[in-house]
């Protein structure tokens, strides 16, 4: 086994060839550390790393770095998310170093939802650099030990670099090329947007495999169990870049009142079963939004337990 880039648990799991399983946790809308710890306790031992969102949907919350650092102290490995919307390259580089200094070893580089969707739509956005330039910047800091301007770093932050990919945005034929550019920029792993349209995702993965991308990067398929028919309809209509086929919503609806969540989890588990066998898929990223307490049950039903313990 060649040398590890970051030594994070997630990197070790993927490198050892295990089917990875990551979770997600949104920081509190305030300084409720106890609530964060409680949410995070549901995930401990059931996932390999937990994504910590960065002012997701442009709604202000506890900073993802602080929440990630709290997770480290709780013994849960964070996947620290950083968006380009809220900070310029100076703040970003400072935060990457800060995060690493606090024991954070994975990060996910994102452009970020536009502030129009959030709770401060009147704010100014930054977008000094974009997500692909962020990936390249973190890689440069890690591998060359220098800042963007070429000045040397006094101890480089060794991050396992992640990026997102949305196979369901337009133009479809281009999505795999954008993924390829992210990999060229330095992405070590990819987490996809929530998948409901399996046909489209199969096509996307075939293109990625054919282009040799899955040889260069680990791809984790995004799964969000549907809690209700309303949630499905909301995602289909209101969430940008989501593709929720009518038949998926119908399936949940047909399960009947009181059974929606159960059916949603069943569908998610069937997806995960398929992903385990799908060429090029290295794991699953489970985004159980505000449903952290159900992660133990879902991971058990999905047959991904026990999680490997890496040294």
């Amino acid at each position: 086994m060649s040398e590890l880039k970051s030594g994070s648990n997630l990197e070790k799991v993927l490198k050892a060839g295990h089917f990875a399983f990551t979770g997600e946790c949104g920081p509190p809308k305030g300084a409720n550390v106890e609530h964060l710890k409680e949410k995070c306790s549901h995930l401990k031992g059931y996932v390999d790393a937990v994504n910590v969102t960065d002012n997701q949907t442009a709604v202000v919350r506890m900073s993802s770095m602080a929440a990630s650092a709290i997770m480290v102290t709780e013994g849960v490995e964070p996947n620290y998310q950083m968006v380009c919307r809220d900070r310029n390259r100076l703040a970003m580089m400072g935060d990457v170093i800060g995060a690493y200094s606090l024991g954070i070893r994975n990060m996910l580089c994102l452009s970020g939802d536009h502030q129009k969707f959030g709770n401060h739509p009147e704010s100014k956005n930054v977008f000094d650099i974009d997500s692909i330039q962020l990936i390249a910047m973190v890689k440069k800091m890690r591998d060359e030990g220098v800042f963007l301007n070429g000045e040397e770093l006094d101890v480089a932050p060794k991050m396992f670099i992640g990026a997102a990919s949305n196979p369901f945005a337009d133009p479809f034929e281009f999505r795999v090329h954008r993924l390829a550019t992210k990999i060229d920029a330095g992405a070590d792993f990819i987490q996809t947007q929530c998948i409901y349209n399996m046909d489209k995702f199969r096509k996307f993965m075939k293109m990625a495999v054919d282009m040799g991308l899955t040889e260069k990067c680990y791809i984790l398929a995004g799964v969000t169990p549907m809690k209700s028919v309303g949630m499905g309809k909301y995602m289909a209509k209101r969430v940008p870049g989501m593709d929720v086929p009518d038949e998926v919503i119908k399936r949940i609806a047909d399960a009947g009142k009181g059974n929606y969540a159960k059916e949603g989890i069943k569908f998610a588990c069937e997806q995960i079963e398929e992903f385990k066998e799908m060429e090029g898929v290295a794991g699953v990223h489970l985004m159980a939004i505000e449903w952290e307490e159900r992660v133990p049950e879902i991971s058990k039903a999905a047959g991904v337990l026990p999680r490997p313990v890496m040294d």
Binding site: Q133, H177, R178, T181
Partner: protein, 222 residues
């Protein structure tokens, strides 16, 4: 050109509420082309102010004038004998105009009658769209002669983002996803490789981020 919108009448009436005699000063430059601050619009605004004030039982005298450009001292100079005869002057030029006027006539009060919006053009009669962000280093030739800095909501250099659907931007279905257009154009031309490069972060020093900008052309300075 610079595209602007006229400020709401109520806001303008409030600006001149203590005045008895004002001038509405138009500009024959960009604001005339985008139908917001030329001779015609000066006339409409002057009438609207007079009618509103008359209705309030507080009539006001409004003098109309439009000059070639308000971004040029040569033309600003032409109103020298007049401006100080008014309680205030409402400038219908872009944000440059009232500032040039105020610099030339320190004793007078000038108000902006328009909100300056963007650099753009008319895509059809009555519809203007932004095309340039004035970032100081033009890159459009890399992107099919389309500007992602001005026209992508996130100014992405590597788009489209995950929110692009049906060729429109995630923030508003009335906004074209310019990256969708860039990609489709490159695909049609068989030049997708142009979009497969990891571009270095932009140097924003040439934009407003580098501080207020100034250009000096030695050959023109006498």
């Amino acid at each position: 050109m610079i595209v602007a919108d006229r400020k709401p009448l109520g806001e303008l009436l409030d600006m001149v509420k203590d005045c008895k005699k004002i001038m509405v000063l138009g500009c024959k430059g960009c604001v005339t082309v985008c139908n917001v601050g030329g001779v015609k619009e000066v006339e409409v605004l002057a009438s609207s102010i007079k009618i509103a004030r008359k209705k309030d039982g507080n009539p006001i005298e409004v003098v109309e004038k439009t000059i070639e450009r308000q971004c040029d001292p040569e033309y600003i100079e032409l109103v020298k004998g007049e401006v100080n005869a008014f309680d205030a002057v409402l400038s219908m030029a872009c944000g440059v105009g009232p500032q040039f006027l105020a610099e030339a006539y320190e004793d007078q009060t000038f108000y902006p009658a328009v909100d300056t919006k963007f650099f753009g053009g008319a895509v059809q009669h009555g519809i203007w769209e932004e095309r340039c962000a004035g970032c100081g280093t033009c890159l459009i030739h890399y992107f099919g002669t389309l500007c992602p800095i001005a026209r992508c909501s996130k100014s992405l250099i590597h788009g489209p983002c995950g929110g692009s659907a049906n060729s429109v931007c995630e923030i508003d279905s009335d906004i074209e996803c310019i990256w969708d257009t860039v990609v489709r154009k490159k695909m049609e031309q068989g030049r997708l490789d142009d979009l497969r490069q990891v571009r270095t972060p932009k140097d924003w020093r040439t934009a407003r981020d580098g501080g207020p900008r100034k250009r000096k052309r030695e050959e023109l300075i006498s």
